[in-house]
Symmetry: C2
Subunit: 313 residues, 2 copies
């Protein structure tokens, strides 16, 4: 029998309040976001990306970042983070009392152009001093590397480019790189190839997987990542999100589907499924649209058609 070593513990980074909500058309009131984040904390999630300190006009959905952080209390054992694109954003994050930020670039020049109006090299030149400044001030930095597998504008991304950029981001002082499947196109083969190569150049504990579930491959990709020893996975309650600059991208892997999967894989996860679904409900009510997760459909939706038939496999 095939014996595959899998991690015994996994860390979930909840990105719903930031990556999820920034991609929803509707602007959610700060009060609702506060209730959402508080419910995620109550559920036991310990790493929560709460918002983004970008220019309010760039992402109006997250323009209330300062107000949201003012309304929240970060309990012991919980790490809040926020996306920060520049020094102005870093100042706002510091003022909000954040001790973890995230920066973002991509493995595709065409994507960074569309997304942040810079080439990859320009983005690194921008983020290098920003990361240094954050680290100087005692703030830890996660770096997102988008479109690591397929870019909607450029197509297939070479594995060595992802490995090289990951190493650079770590050398600049990021303590974690989130290898991101922005349009959710990757399969386990891509994970094994690209992340496998990344791990030739970076310690496994510094690599996270950020997966979207456009094609239903997200959990298969988690499994592939686990086989490589990856222990940090991003997810979003209710499967919120998408990506307007990435045609066809669906939401993030749903936190509740990841929890079921990990539980069934024998990985201990100290998160309460029901409370994650309650958190998803808060946003779903505000968006007036049901969450996309399998777990929500199973527990809250109606997918069973009871009949008198027999003989089922």
């Amino acid at each position: 029998m095939n014996v595959i070593q899998l991690p015994k513990k996994v860390r979930i980074v909840e990105v719903g309040p930031r990556d999820g909500l920034q991609n929803e058309r509707a602007k959610i009131p700060t009060k609702i976001k506060t209730a959402f984040v508080n419910k995620l904390i109550e559920a036991g999630l310990t790493d929560i990306e709460v918002s983004s300190f970008v220019h309010p006009k760039a992402i109006p959905q997250l323009a209330d970042a300062t107000e949201l952080f003012e309304a929240l209390v970060q309990p012991g054992g919980v790490c809040f983070s926020a996306l920060v694109p520049n020094e102005r954003g870093l100042d706002r994050a510091l003022a909000a009392g954040i001790n973890r930020i995230a920066v973002f670039t991509a493995a595709s020049d065409k994507f960074t152009q569309q997304n942040i109006n810079m080439s990859i090299e320009e983005s690194l030149a921008t983020f290098s001093p920003l990361i240094a400044q954050a680290v100087d001030r005692g703030i830890t930095v996660r770096a997102y590397l988008s479109t690591c597998f397929v870019c909607p504008f450029e197509g297939e991304i070479p594995t060595d480019r992802v490995a090289c950029l990951t190493r650079k981001l770590l050398e600049m002082g990021a303590d974690e790189v989130a290898i991101s499947d922005t349009i959710g196109a990757a399969s386990p083969k891509d994970i094994l190839a690209t992340v496998g190569e990344v791990l030739d150049h970076a310690p496994v504990e510094k690599i996270a997987l950020h997966l979207h579930d456009t094609y239903g491959t997200a959990l298969a990709n988690v499994f592939a990542g686990m086989q490589l020893g990856i222990q940090t996975f991003d997810a979003s309650a209710g499967g919120l999100g998408g990506c307007p600059f990435a045609p066809g991208a669906a939401g993030n892997l749903a936190t509740e589907d990841l929890i079921y999967f990990l539980h069934r894989m024998g990985v201990s996860v100290d998160v309460d499924m029901d409370l994650v679904l309650d958190a998803a409900d808060i946003i779903a009510k505000s968006l007036d649209r049901p969450p996309r997760s399998k777990q929500w459909l199973r527990q809250r939706g109606c997918i069973i058609h009871p009949m008198g038939a027999s003989n089922h496999e």
Copy 2:
């Protein structure tokens, strides 16, 4: 880097017309089913489970099996099959000119009781002569083994029971056993453990995986199966199906999602994605309900919310 050997070719057994439709509340007209099966053939699917020769009262949705086979022409290179529960069913299948049948039992006594009103042993005693008779008449036999991982009534199923039953079904003359995750609860860990043990007692080319996607784990389970060398996977166009006797079971793994996955995994699959979606559309129109697959949502639904925002991972 981790190197995992995966099969280069995979066989898809399309079970939508049978397992899919028997679990839909609505009765689909024979004319629509004919168009559905013909579209599946046009798409390039070569193994199609068309219907079931059970008592019409047991599954009214498939009561038109004889008429459906009369309306269909089986092209060279395509293998039609039908579910057969007893001698009467076998006679009907023979009259319809079928050269492949399927029988069904489960790895849970409580499930077989609910499903076919027999214990596992009674079902084997029933099917043993039936399989022998079919083989005598030149008909090949697939055997479904339901609830191989989790039973909705009995809970966790011991791996050795599945291995033992699989061996028995092969010894009786079945040329293939479909190890079935009836409620879609399995994770790759379950696949590796149970199917791994099955393969200690059975040749890999005689084992198929029949997966449902209740918890979003189906493709992860395909990946686990492929790592064990499994080369035959069941799927259902549009993700049709469910199981009324298995609370919480969603539809089969969608054929179109499996095709995307295999393609991306580097496995050559000679099936036309667009035509599979067209097939799904035929049934969706008749059921007046959109298909459940990710691929359908992506290509026919609307999951993108274009906006002016930026900064996306």
